[in-house]
Amino acid sequence: MIASKERTVIFEVKNLKKHFELSKGMFKKQKTIVRAVDGLNFRVYEGETLGIVGESGCGKSTTGQLMLGMLDATDGQIIFRSQDLATMNKEELRKARRDLQVIFQDPFSSLNPRMTVEELIGEPLIVHGIMKGKELRAHVLELMQLVGLREHMINRYPHEFSGGQRQRIGIARALSLNPKVIVCDEAVSALDVSIQAQILNLLNKLQRELDLTYIFIAHGLPAVRHISDRIGVMYLGKMVELAGRDDLFNQPLHPYTHALLDAVPIPDPKLRKEHDLIEGEIPSPSNPPSGCRFHPRCPYATDKCSKEEPEYREVLPDHFVACHYPLTEVAKRPVPSV
């Protein structure tokens, strides 16, 4: 990880909120508000990989889209290199997007089936009027080589490729504008294990060579651990914990983080054990629990947890957590209710 002194902030997210309105019922306009993202505060430093993990409905993908400027925030700020995305006009946003690219989860649906590899990878450069013709083709070939695609594939269509190769096409497309930040939205989740390793290695190599900043959004913890410098854990639209990856994995402070890490199956039968299961289902983000959103499933929850929302604070250096009773403060923690 980069030493804290020389870190430059590239993204500053302040009290970010995104609420979606769903209208239910045909006649009475009953409105449900889904609080997909509900008050996020964090920073992304230049050159790092910030992992964001969480289960379905935690708002991690919405966060990614907000940071790409593809969704408008309901409230709060996303400051990208000292300018708020929300205050940018159309042209400024378009320019900013050249530096903000995305790699999607599903390599089967994220490539236009009617375009060839050349068109797919070269298109961003055409759109921004940077290159065309022979120069463009040469550049596309360069990019293909960079991501490990062979030259002769340039005129093929996406359906002629396997999942891993398609993901390479998607990566080359994202790289073509020479971006600063790439949001990887479940970029390896849909791939087979052996292919996933290829792509993770490729992403690491590209980061070293091109000084990229990654925001790596995923539900698969092993992959996130492998690639991230710092990891944030989200639950129902809130960041519950954020820390350097080793700190987070070795010393999780939030009971949810602990449960999440504990639930990951370990590929070693000798370490087979009973899990500290957390009970119940993930509540719906349209009707989140009061106080701490994790309290109905938390083994340590008290009255306070159901009433007061815990503050998101820096408990240890560079280790943020939103919990009334972080797991370090063992002495202060009440006896588990069950």
């Binding site: 052996s194 290829q198 639930a263 590929p267 899990h275 957390i278 289902e281």
Partner: protein, 327 residues
């Protein structure tokens, strides 16, 4: 050794496509013993799902078993009529799928769908079936079973639906439960709940479980024995401890090494080069040789057989057979 519940021998499945017949499962043989959990692991294109569909007799219309036998307790399944197969599926072998939503009927309540097979197969009246259904839902960890009985599938979460599916699959006390990627669509905390549930079920009953998965973590959590498949063939068979401790086949080794570990961070992951071959363009000899770090000209010629290195640990590799491979 326990009695065999299911014995698959030389199973070959092919599909009719526009480009002619394509074999996706080529001579697969394995045994599921009573009370054991057997895992079939492989990546997409390995033929693991087709194998499970063939066992259940629910191959898509363009697929057929061309060779081999499937013995369920001395009863040959490959030549059963559709009607007899349905009986076996209802009573002796049941299956749970990756996405329970596709297996549940969206227009009936959970209660209705649970009662129906009980009234049909177990000859219970409605009242008895109802209380038995509630009992079953409780046994898979659904505490508010009464409420869930009145719900429709879309009103339940993914984890709940999978529990309901498991309850349904177990309702007629099957001898064998085939679980095809049962936790792949679930969140990790819910996955842990379902795996624990399956583990407890195995402890409480003599039901054998055959689990099909791509996730070696899930295998390590739940399996007794493991079958590793690659490109339509079995490449390795071993007990779970042996497989993880001393994998023999280079493919198994590669798979294990390419997984990012949660407790052990490396700078660069091991990765198997290339991609799974298409059934239309199968390599000659050993099907893994073009991607294998040990592959050579000999591997391209000889199609290795599944041989035992010691005891019941089998591997399909000439290098392993010749003990050239340093473990």
């Amino acid at each position: 050794m326990q009695e065999a519940v299911l014995k698959v021998d030389g199973l070959k499945v092919r599909f009719k496509t526009e480009d002619g017949y394509v074999s996706t499962v080529n001579g697969v043989s394995f045994t599921v013993h009573e009370g054991e959990t057997l895992a079939i692991v492989g990546e997409s294109g390995s033929g693991k799902s087709v194998t499970s569909l063939a066992l259940m007799g629910i191959l898509p219309p363009n697929g057929e078993v061309v060779e081999g036998s499937i013995l369920y307790r001395d009863r040959e399944l490959t030549n059963l009529s559709k009607k007899d197969y349905r009986k076996i599926r209802g009573n002796d072998i049941s299956m749970i799928f990756q996405e329970p939503m596709t297996a549940l009927n969206p227009v009936f309540t959970i209660g209705f769908q649970l009662r129906e097979p009980l009234m049909l197969h177990a000859a219970l009246n409605k009242q008895q079936a109802h209380s038995r259904a509630i009992e079953m839902l409780r046994s898979v960890g659904i505490s508010d079973a009464e409420k869930v009985m009145g719900r429709f599938p879309h009103q339940l979460s993914g984890g709940m639906r999978q529990r309901v599916m498991i309850a349904m699959a177990l309702s007629c006390n099957p001898k064998l439960l085939i679980a095809d990627e049962p936790t792949t669509a679930l969140d990790v905390t819910i996955q842990a709940q379902i795996l624990t549930l399956l583990r407890n079920l195995k402890r409480q009953s003599s039901t054998s479980i055959m689990i099909i998965t791509h996730d070696l973590g899930v295998v390590a959590e739940i399996a007794d024995r493991v079958v590793v498949m690659y490109a339509g063939e079995i490449v390795e068979v071993a007990t779970v401890d042996e497989l993880f401790e001393s994998p023999q086949h280079p493919y198994t080794k590669g798979l294990l090494n390419s997984m990012p570990k949660i407790h052990d961070v490396v700078d660069e992951l091991y990765s198997i080069e290339g991609t799974v071959p298409s059934p239309l363009e199968m390599p000659t000899g050993c099907k893994f040789h073009p991607r294998c770090p040990l592959g050579d000209s000999e591997c391209a010629k000889i199609h290795p057989s599944l041989e035992s290195k010691e005891g019941d640990h089998l591997a399909r590799c000439i290098k392993v057979a010749k003990k050239e491979l340093v473990v």
